[in-house]
């Protein structure tokens, strides 16, 4: 768990980067720090591994104030990935990923095994990539290595500063999806910085929206979109409200009523099934792809009931009305 307790960062001359920030990142949770440039999101992130030291307040990791922990040990226990990746150009991919395990004096074979494991789950063939140099990789591949390096020693905490920010939209989406997949298995406590509200909605269990160093709202993506805490949040979401609603509203929330039904043999035969956690957009895509009028909704293996395309479209129209947008 990472706790921020009334944390301030002020610079000589009075510039306030972060003001009176209190929040908690629960174990295994991903909290996205969202905001424009100058909102204090990166400062907040960098205070956790003390690349920037807080002026006032306490940041507690593992139950201990970070200022009382050994700086080097603290940092070695926190994964760190940034937008500009910062791979060491003179080291091979394998050497890059091995940096923290080597600092922690892992035995050689354990490190080598870990490198191969990480390359594999990052979708890079170890045989092919282990001995390559960063310059021989594409931007997307480099960022995969950057993330793999952050996870190398299997740290419980990971800080990510716009890790996918420098990538083209298609590669970015791919890496986001891969990371979500990976994250669901490794369950780290993650602080993730972005200025992209769609990325925030996609990656975060909760979103901390910051403006001018102050926390404006800390809530789940759905809540942020449904109930903006103040005018700033509302205007930050701005013209994206409609799209965001379709992304954050899940099928489950629009199911007519959740009567537990026994699996219906008829619809269970249909191969296409909607997951209760799917967003409205995903549902719409599936209707389009399968050309069905009705799809079964499942939560895990439990059948929740059928949903009609008409129902879905009606809800989408309602959302459109709520967000006050005209098409």
């Amino acid at each position: 768990m990472i706790q921020f307790d009334r944390v301030w960062k002020t610079y000589p001359g009075g510039a306030e980067a972060v003001c009176d920030l209190s929040m908690e990142v629960a174990e295994g949770e991903t909290v996205v720090l969202l905001g424009t440039s100058g909102s204090g999101k990166t400062t907040t992130l960098k205070m956790v591994n003390r690349l920037i030291e807080p002026t006032r307040g306490r940041i507690v990791i593992n139950g201990t104030d970070i200022m009382e922990q050994d700086l080097i040990q603290l940092r070695r226990g926190i994964g760190y990935a940034i937008q500009y990746i910062g791979l060491f150009p003179h080291m091979t991919i394998s050497e890059n990923i091995s940096v923290v395990p080597n600092l922690l004096k892992w035995p050689r074979d354990r490190t080598a095994e870990r490198v191969d494991e990480l390359l594999t789950i990052s979708g890079l063939d170890p045989e092919e990539f282990r001995e390559r140099y960063p310059a021989q990789l594409s931007g997307g591949q480099r960022q995969r290595v950057g993330v793999a390096r952050a996870l190398a020693s299997d740290p419980p905490f990971v800080l990510m500063d716009e890790p996918f920010g420098a990538l083209d939209p298609i590669t970015r989406e791919q890496l986001q999806d891969e990371f979500i997949e990976l994250e669901s298995e490794i369950k780290k406590t993650i602080l993730f910085v972005t200025h992209d509200v769609f990325e925030a909605v996609k990656m975060g269990d909760r979103i901390a929206l910051l403006d001018a160093g102050r926390l404006q709202q800390l809530s789940t993506p759905a809540e942020l979109v449904e109930n903006p805490a103040n005018e700033f949040v509302d205007s930050f979401l701005g013209q994206h409200r409609f799209q965001l609603s379709l992304l954050t509203k899940t099928i489950k929330t629009i199911m007519p009523e959740l009567r537990p039904t026994s699996p219906e043999s008829g619809s269970a035969k249909s191969e296409a099934r909607l997951r209760a956690r799917s967003s409205l957009i995903e549902a719409l895509d599936l209707f389009k792809k399968t050309k069905q009028a009705t799809l079964p909704v499942y939560e895990g293996k439990r059948f929740l009931g059928p949903i009609e395309k008409k129902q879905l479209l009606k809800v989408i129209t309602e959302v459109l009305g709520e967000t006050g947008e005209t098409s």
């Binding site: 690349l51 940092r75 760190y80 990746i85 150009p89 003179h90 600092l103 140099y133 390096r149």
Partner: protein
């Protein structure tokens, strides 16, 4: 052909000895210059007082602008004032070392400063100590540029060291001065050609070393 044999019979042994002196002088001056400029350059990259940095860089830069002959004269004069020997290797060595400082210092300082800041940030963020960052990130990445500085200093020093004949430090300058004083072309050539050849040999050898030291990942 006969004249060439006669030339070497007459001047060969002296040429060889003077060349050895020349190499010795150059080598010594460079080693001392590296021992001063490399740590100083590294220190300056870590120094938090920009005024001190520009003062030191400026001072070393000014040494370079003093004409070589004048610098040797200054060193001899200062030595005379403080009672140190004004003839021989020592004053020559001091002047040569001062000259060799700048390229090494400047290249060390700028190349370390130019290491991609995001690389340094990640290195710090991952928990590398300042020394670990220096030795396993900054220096390996700067090595080719630092080596280029050493190579420039070497070639300069080989040329400048001929002037040290003036203060009785020996070297190929001795032969050149002898040729000048007595209008002897063979002495002049016996001093000039080896100096030029030395410069070429060291230049290519060091540029080979530079390539060899360039980290694999930085070669395109």
């Amino acid at each position: 052909m006969n004249t060439l044999i006669a030339f070497f019979q007459k001047l060969g042994p002296e040429m060889l000895q003077r060349t050895m002196e020349h190499v010795y002088l150059t080598f010594l001056a460079l080693v001392i210059a590296i021992m001063i400029a490399l740590p100083l350059g590294i220190y300056l990259t870590r120094c938090r007082r920009p005024k001190l940095v520009s003062a030191i860089m400026g001072a070393v830069g000014i040494i370079q602008t003093v004409p070589t002959l004048a610098l040797i004269a200054f060193v001899v004069l200062i030595f005379a004032l403080v009672g140190l020997p004004t003839i021989g290797t020592l004053p020559a060595l001091v002047a040569l070392t001062l000259y060799a400082l700048l390229p090494i210092l400047r290249n060390t300082y700028t190349s370390i400063r130019q290491v991609d800041p995001s690389v340094i940030e990640v290195a710090r963020g991952m928990g590398m100590t300042s020394n670990q960052i220096l030795f396993s990130v900054e220096l390996p990445l700067s090595l080719p540029v630092i080596m280029a500085g050493i190579r420039i200093s070497t070639v300069w020093t080989i040329g400048i060291a001929t002037l040290c004949g003036l203060v009785g430090a020996g070297g190929l300058g001795d032969l050149i001065l002898k040729g000048l004083r007595s209008y002897l072309m063979d002495y002049l050539l016996a001093g000039t050609v080896p100096a030029a050849v030395l410069a070429l040999i060291f230049d290519s050898a060091l540029s080979g070393l530079e390539k060899w030291l360039t980290p694999q990942g930085l070669k395109s």
